[in-house]
């Protein structure tokens, strides 16, 4: 009897406990505090380029999740001693997830992450991770490969110009992927690169584009932040590709398409995974397949068959049947760097610091 009674009481207690736990968890779901997400930007949100694309994604997350999320951003954070303080401040302010959106934030992010093990961090474009620090980036080079295909079909002078910012791997990768796409349909075409050593100087970028046009380029691509090159192409009556986002507003006729970042779904995914507790530190490097990289609407001037070709290639990349750096990939001297039947590893892609065959000039060291 006694024993039975006890077990009954135990059972009762257990049931009550379960009920309570259920109640509590239900409570925490319904009256949950919104997930707080912080963003650290390297430029002003009004830069119309890199930071703008991240801020657009932040707004997208807010739109999608409504009052379940509360976002905060700090703009124009210098990549020096200030970054660490800002990141730490965001962590201290109770943010659950913090996106640090520039390469220079890598070491500060790791330092702060060590002190805030419960806060999740996501760093864009870096290569160092920790238990609570993931990295993410988009394979914009896949989009650039497709623009290369379009350029190869559309160029008449067989010279294509490329306005570069700084010769870091990310930019070189874009140039190489573009050239791979270009030469896959037009082996005679070459790419000329001009570096403006600035991410952002509309006038200088425009001048660089015009210089390239002057030297025979009839299509311009860019890896800088402003629509300066598009404006140059529009004024000179040649074609150009945008970058970051659809830049057709700045040159309706010139703008063939743009390789764009689409951070929105990436961020939404990450925020959701923090909400349901499934977040882990990963190295996300998504391209066309994940939707992180996309092409802006194509200019109607692109012939039907080229559009079809681009669509096919795009699908092939998404299906994993085509890789912009699938062998044989040759360097400028003609030496085979990636043998036929193989593709370049992600590691090699990350540290890419040589030009493929078809790029003119020397890569500044």
């Amino acid at each position: 009897m006694k024993q039975e009674k006890k077990s009954l009481a135990q059972r009762f207690a257990k049931a009550a406990g379960v009920a309570l736990a259920l109640f509590m968890s239900a409570q925490s779901v319904t009256a949950a505090e919104p997930v707080k997400v912080g963003f650290v930007y390297v430029g002003p949100t009004g830069d119309a380029g890199w930071t703008y694309s991240h801020d657009k994604a932040r707004k997208y997350v807010e739109e999608q999740l409504g009052d379940k999320v509360k976002t905060t951003y700090v703009e124009s954070v210098a990549e020096g001693a200030d970054a660490e303080r800002v990141i730490r401040q965001l962590a201290k302010s109770g943010n659950d997830l913090i996106f640090t959106t520039s390469f220079g934030y890598m070491n500060p992010t790791l330092k702060v992450a060590k002190q805030f093990p419960k806060v999740k961090f996501e760093h864009a474009s870096g290569y160092k991770r920790a238990k609570n620090v993931g990295t993410y980036f988009d394979r914009i080079y896949e989009g650039r490969y497709l623009t290369g295909v379009i350029a190869g079909k559309m160029t008449k002078s067989n010279i294509v110009g490329y306005v570069g910012s700084f010769p870091i791997p990310e930019v070189v990768r874009g140039i190489d992927a573009f050239t791979q796409g270009l030469r896959s349909v037009n082996p005679k075409a070459v790419v000329k690169v001009v570096w403006v050593s600035s991410w952002y100087d509309p006038a200088k970028e425009r001048e660089a584009a015009e210089t390239l046009i002057l030297q025979g380029a009839d299509i311009i691509n860019q890896h800088t932040d402003s629509p300066g090159p598009i404006q140059a192409a529009q004024a000179k009556g040649v074609y150009a590709f945008g970058y970051h986002s659809d830049m057709s507003l700045y040159g309706k006729d010139a703008h063939l398409t743009a390789a764009t970042h689409n951070w929105g779904p990436v961020y939404l995914e990450k925020v959701k995974s923090v909400m349901d507790g499934s977040w882990t530190s990963t190295d996300f490097w998504g391209g066309l397949a994940s939707g992180a990289t996309a092409l802006a609407p194509l200019n109607p001037a692109i012939p039907e068959d080229v559009v079809k070709l681009v669509e096919e290639r795009k699908q092939a990349i998404i299906d994993g049947k085509l890789h912009p750096f699938q062998g044989p990939v040759k360097d400028q001297s003609g030496a085979v760097k990636v043998p036929a039947g193989e593709v370049m590893s992600d590691e090699d892609l990350l540290s890419l610091n040589w030009y493929v065959e078809g790029v003119e000039g020397e890569l500044p060291k």
Binding site: T72, V74, A78, G80, R85, V86, Q89, P167, P169
Partner: protein
């Protein structure tokens, strides 16, 4: 005009203390109106801007980290400006100090020698000094205007730094990104407080503060510099060696700025990066003037400047106010401070007719408020 400014016979000591308070009040009022117009609670915003950043010990340590480099630069500039040597080049001297100091630090990647850190710091200070020696040489031997040469040298130093981190000093294992390898423990500044970023660079700044104070108010050299600033000809007649004073002021200021730079890279940053300084050298110019070229004033104004930066970040985080507003607010505060200082040397009179022609004849007539200030702020 209904109001007219009239020069005081002597600078008002009262106003020297009152004017910052007046400027602060004006900024708070204008700021409140601005925040209110933007639909933010003015009191809460001002609290977040000015009080919240220093509401705990950690906040004060961060304030120190931010204020130290500005203070080091501003102290050196104060010595220069006292002697009317217009060094605008603290930024370049800071960057060059960081570059050379950082370059030396990279030689110690596999060493834990106790001498490494002092060597790095000395290298940084000497580099800053060397960078300031250029305008000193050009001024004393070629009569070249130092305002202009120092501005040019700022850009040259910046580009040398960029060249180095994009090229020779790039981290070999860093995937070609423009930054150096991380410095080792041996060449990193020790922390003063666990769990903070407060490093011994702050002690350097405080030491420099005392040293500059002693130099300016207790030594003959300091006296000579001040006389030089007030009246070059008087200094000349008194037999002061003007060139030596110019050299001294610039070298000292260069060394302090260089030290600030090397402390940044071996302290909170921990490696050479393209963006070592978010304009500390320029901020220091404003800080030096706001601090009336006096060490204690500089201590306070560099802390205020640091607070504005940190507060600006906090209102973004807490209240979603854009950074642009911070710039606006900063500019406003600086304008008010600069504007209110006029009351030290001038008084406001109601109507021009009432201001009699009581014009004082002053040796420092041309130099107006600044020159007189320096005699009275001691």
């Amino acid at each position: 005009m209904i109001f007219k400014l009239e020069r005081r016979v002597d600078d008002s000591r009262w106003m020297a203390y009152l004017s910052p308070i007046l400027a602060g009040t004006l900024t708070l009022i204008t700021g409140s109106i601005l925040f209110w117009a933007l639909g933010k609670d003015p009191l809460q915003t001002l609290y977040t801007f000015f009080i919240a950043p220093v509401s705990d010990l950690y906040g004060w340590t961060e304030l120190g980290v931010k204020a130290a480099p500005i203070m080091l630069c501003a102290l050196g500039l104060a010595v220069c400006y006292r002697g009317k040597v217009w060094n605008i080049g603290a930024e370049g001297q800071l960057l060059f100090g960081a570059l050379v100091g950082g370059g030396v630090a990279l030689q110690f990647l596999e060493s834990d020698s106790a001498f490494a850190l002092p060597l790095v710091l000395v290298a940084g200070a000497l580099a800053g000094m060397a960078w300031a020696a250029i305008p000193a040489l050009l001024k004393t031997h070629f009569n070249t205007n130092e305002i202009l040469t120092t501005i040019m040298l700022n850009y040259i130093a910046l580009n040398l730094l960029l060249f180095s981190v994009h090229g020779p000093l790039k981290d070999p294992g860093g995937f070609n990104f423009p930054e150096s390898a991380l410095f080792t423990e041996a060449v990193t500044l020790p922390l003063l407080l666990e769990d903070s970023r407060m490093h011994i660079g702050i002690l350097f700044a405080l030491f420099a503060l005392v040293a500059v104070w002693v130099l300016l108010s207790k030594t003959f050299v300091g006296f000579q510099i001040k006389v030089l600033g007030l009246d070059t000809r008087a200094a000349h007649f008194a037999g002061f060696k003007e060139r030596r004073l110019v050299w001294l002021a610039l070298l000292l200021s260069g060394a302090l700025a260089g030290l600030a730079g090397v402390c940044e890279v071996t302290g909170p940053i921990g490696q050479l990066v393209p963006q070592v300084s978010p304009g500390y050298g320029y901020a220091a110019i404003i800080v030096a003037f706001l601090g009336r070229l006096h060490p204690v004033g500089i201590l306070l104004s560099s802390m205020l400047m640091a607070l504005i930066y940190i507060g600006g970040e906090l209102v973004q985080i807490e209240l979603n106010l854009p950074l642009a507003l911070t710039g606006l607010f900063q500019g406003m505060l600086l304008f008010f401070l600069l504007a209110c200082d006029v009351l030290i040397a001038y008084r406001i009179r109601l109507s021009p007719r009432f201001s009699a022609l009581r014009k004082p004849s002053s040796a420092a007539l041309v130099n107006g408020a600044d020159a007189n200030l320096s005699t009275h702020s001691q």
